[in-house]
C-alpha cells in the first residue's frame, strides 16, 4: 500500500506554523499556546505513522451464473497489525457488473482480526467478468497519514446468456442415421405412419394392417417413418453489430445461439458452432450436455473483430459443415460478407435458415431530415433483402428483443413447407 499525508495534515501544520510566527511577530505567548497543539498533533501523527498490515481477499458465492442473476460477493479485510485500523473499501467499477453498494464502505478492523463486507453483484451482460481487486484505504489513529492500495486477487466469473425455452424448432430437410426426435423421410421402424405395402418375406406379424388386408384380400403391412437426429450448425455472424448504450445485436445473437443449441441438443441433434467474422472460430458438431457447455463457453468469447478480409464458404473447414446439416445463420444482415455467405451456401444446396437479429431496435434515425429519409430507405432495403433471401429458398426468422423466437421459427417452418419443391431442387 502507498502511504501519503492526509489532505488535512498540511493545513494543520500550516496553522500551527502560522500561530507560532504570529506569536513571535506580536510578542504574545497566547498565540503560541493556540498553535502548539496543532504542531504536537501533526508531529505525533507523523512520528507514529506505520504501514498497516492489512490484506483483503475477494470471494464470490459462485463463479458461474446467468446474466442478470444477482449473487453475493464477500470482501474479507484482515488486519495483522497490533492496532485496530479504519478501512474504507470500494468495489471495482466495471461497465458490465452492477455492484451494490457502489459507494465506499467504511469498516473498523480490530487488531489481528478480520471483517467481512458483503456486496451484491449482478452482471448486465453475458461474458467473462472480473471481480477484484478492491480499492482499500486505511488511516492511522490520528488520521495524519493515509495508506491506499488495491488488494485482493481478481476473481474470474462467467455469466452465461439467458436462454429462451424453444418448443418449436426448424425442422431439418435431411436427417442422420442416429436415433433422434425428427421424423425422417425414409421408411423403417418408427411411430409416424407412412404408407402400406404388400407383405414381404421377413416382415413381422405386428406390422400387418388387418383392415387393409381384409379390404384388399392379401396381406398388407404398415410402413413407418423412423425418428432420427440431424446435424445442426449455428453460424454466428460477428462481422458487425448495431449497438446502443446498453446492448447490441451481438448480445441478442449469442442468447439466440445458446437457446437454439440447448433446444437442438435436447432433441439429440449433433450441434456445432461457427463464429464467422473478423476472426474465425468453430466447434465441430457433437452430441450431449458436454457439447452444450463447450458451445456456451465458445459463445462467451464472441466479439466483433473488425477486419477487411473477405471471407466466403471456402474459408470454412469442410468438417464443420457436414453434408445434410441444417445451417442456422444467426446474423443482423449488416455486413456484405455474411449476406454473400448466406446466398452462396444456399446456392450450393445447403439446408439453410437465417435467424435475423433485428438491428432496428438498437439504431435510431440521425438528427437531420435527410437522415430520417435514409433510415426509412434502409428499413425498406432490409425488407427487400429479406425477400431476396426468401426467393432463394432461405427461411428468415426475425428475432427482436423482448419477443419470443418460437413463433418466428414456426413461420419459417410454414415457409419451408410451402417452398419445399424449390428447396429440393
Amino acid at each position: 500500500m502507498k502511504g501519503s499525508l492526509s489532505p488535512r495534515t498540511p493545513g494543520v501544520l500550516a496553522l500551527g506554523g502560522a500561530g507560532l510566527i504570529a506569536a513571535l511577530a506580536t510578542g504574545r505567548p497566547e498565540l503560541a499556546l493556540i498553535a502548539v497543539p496543532f504542531l504536537v498533533f501533526g508531529g505525533a501523527g507523523l512520528m507514529l505513522a506505520r504501514e498497516p498490515q492489512v490484506t483483503a481477499a475477494v470471494e464470490a458465492e459462485r463463479l458461474r451464473f446467468l446474466e442478470g442473476e444477482e449473487l453475493t460477493a464477500m470482501v474479507r479485510v484482515r488486519n495483522d497489525g497490533p492496532e485496530s485500523v479504519e478501512a474504507e473499501v470500494a468495489p471495482v467499477r466495471t461497465g458490465q457488473l452492477a455492484v451494490a453498494p457502489a459507494s465506499t464502505v467504511a469498516v473498523r478492523v480490530g487488531a489481528r482480526s478480520e471483517t467481512e463486507i458483503a456486496f451484491s453483484v449482478r452482471p448486465r451482460r453475458w461474458g467473462a467478468h472480473g471481480l477484484g481487486p478492491v480499492a482499500v484505504r486505511t488511516r492511522d489513529a490520528l488520521g495524519v497519514t493515509v495508506w491506499e492500495g488495491r488488494l485482493g486477487a481478481r476473481v474470474d466469473m462467467r455469466a452465461f446468456p439467458r436462454e429462451e425455452r424453444l418448443r418449436e424448432l426448424v425442422a431439418p430437410l435431411r436427417t442422420q442415421p442416429f436415433l433422434g426426435a425428427h421424423v425422417a423421410r425414409s421408411r423403417a421402424d418408427g411411430i409416424e405412419f407412412a404408407d402400406i405395402r404388400p407383405f414381404a418375406v421377413g416382415d413381422r406379424v405386428r406390422q400387418v394392417n388387418w383392415r387393409a388386408t381384409a379390404r384388399r384380400g392379401s396381406l398388407q403391412v404398415n410402413q413407418r417413418h423412423p425418428e432420427h437426429s440431424s446435424d445442426v450448425v449455428l453460424l454466428l455472424d460477428t462481422f458487425e453489430e448495431a449497438r446502443d448504450q446498453d446492448s447490441g445485436t451481438l448480445d441478442s445473437a449469442v442468447r439466440t445461439a445458446a437457446s437454439l443449441a440447448r433446444a437442438h441438443l435436447a432433441r439429440r441433434d449433433r450441434v456445432g458452432v461457427v463464429d464467422f467474422g473478423g476472426t474465425l472460430h468453430w466447434l465441430e458438431p457433437a452430441f450431449g450436455t458436454r457439447q452444450l457447455y463447450r458451445i456456451v463457453d465458445a459463445l462467451l468469447s464472441s466479439n466483433i473483430a473488425f477486419s477487411y478480409a473477405w471471407r466466403n464458404v471456402d474459408s470454412l473447414p469442410q468438417r464443420v459443415l457436414p453434408p445434410g446439416a441444417l445451417i442456422l445463420a444467426i446474423t443482423p444482415l449488416l455486413d456484405e460478407r455474411s449476406i454473400a455467405l448466406v446466398s452462396e451456401l444456399r446456392k450450393r444446396g445447403c439446408d439453410l435458415t437465417v435467424v435475423e437479429v433485428s438491428p432496428l431496435d438498437y439504431v435510431s434515425p440521425g438528427p437531420t431530415a435527410s437522415d430520417a429519409v435514409a433510415y426509412e430507405l434502409w428499413r425498406l432495403a432490409r425488407e427487400a433483402l429479406r425477400a431476396r433471401l426468401q426467393s432463394l429458398g432461405v427461411g428468415v426468422a426475425i428475432s427482436e428483443p423482448g419477443s419470443a423466437l418460437g413463433p418466428a421459427l414456426e413461420e419459417v417452418n410454414a415457409f419451408r413447407r410451402s417452398a419445399r419443391p424449390a428447396l429440393r431442387a
Binding site: G11, V12, G95, E241, L377
Partner: protein, 136 residues
C-alpha cells in the same frame, strides 16, 4: 480593559483557528478506475445510405448510379408481392402506380443523365417516393 482586550483577542484567534480547521480540505474519494462507457455503434449500411441521400440530392450521377439501383430493388420486391414486375410494366400503369417522379427514376429504359451536374433527388422528394413505395 487591557485584560478584556487580551481575552477578546485570544477568543477571536481561537474562532479564526476553528474556522480555518473547518476549511481544511476533506479527504478525497477513494481512487477507482472509471469503467469505459459503451460506445454506440451505427451500422455501416445506414451510414452509407445517409451519405448517399445527401449526395443524391446534389448530383444527378449519384442519384442515377447509386440511389436508383436501391430504389429498383425495393420497388421490385414490393411489386413482386403483387405479382407484377418492373421490367414488364407498361408506362401508363407504372406512372399510375408509382407516380411520375418515382417512375422516372426506376423505369427500365432510363438513360444516364446528360447533364452530369444536374440536380439529383432531394431528400423531401425521396421521402415522398418512399411513401408511395410503402403504400404499394
Amino acid at each position: 480593559m487591557t485584560l478584556l482586550a487580551e481575552i477578546a483577542l485570544v477568543v477571536l484567534a481561537g474562532i479564526a483557528v476553528a474556522t480555518c480547521v473547518t476549511l481544511l480540505p476533506a479527504p478525497r474519494p477513494l481512487r477507482r478506475r472509471q469503467p469505459a462507457a459503451p460506445v454506440p455503434s451505427r451500422p455501416q449500411q445506414l451510414v452509407a445510405l445517409e451519405r448517399l441521400v445527401t449526395t443524391a440530392g446534389t448530383s444527378a450521377v449519384s442519384a442515377h448510379a447509386y440511389l436508383r439501383p436501391r430504389l429498383i430493388e425495393i420497388v421490385s420486391h414490393r411489386l413482386a408481392a403483387r405479382g407484377q414486375t418492373l421490367e414488364r410494366m407498361p408506362e401508363a400503369v407504372g406512372r399510375d402506380l408509382l407516380g411520375d417522379r418515382l417512375w422516372d427514376i426506376v423505369r427500365p429504359d432510363r438513360r444516364f443523365p446528360q447533364d452530369r451536374r444536374g440536380p439529383g433527388v432531394q431528400a423531401q422528394e425521396l421521402d415522398a417516393m418512399l411513401e408511395v413505395i410503402r403504400r404499394l
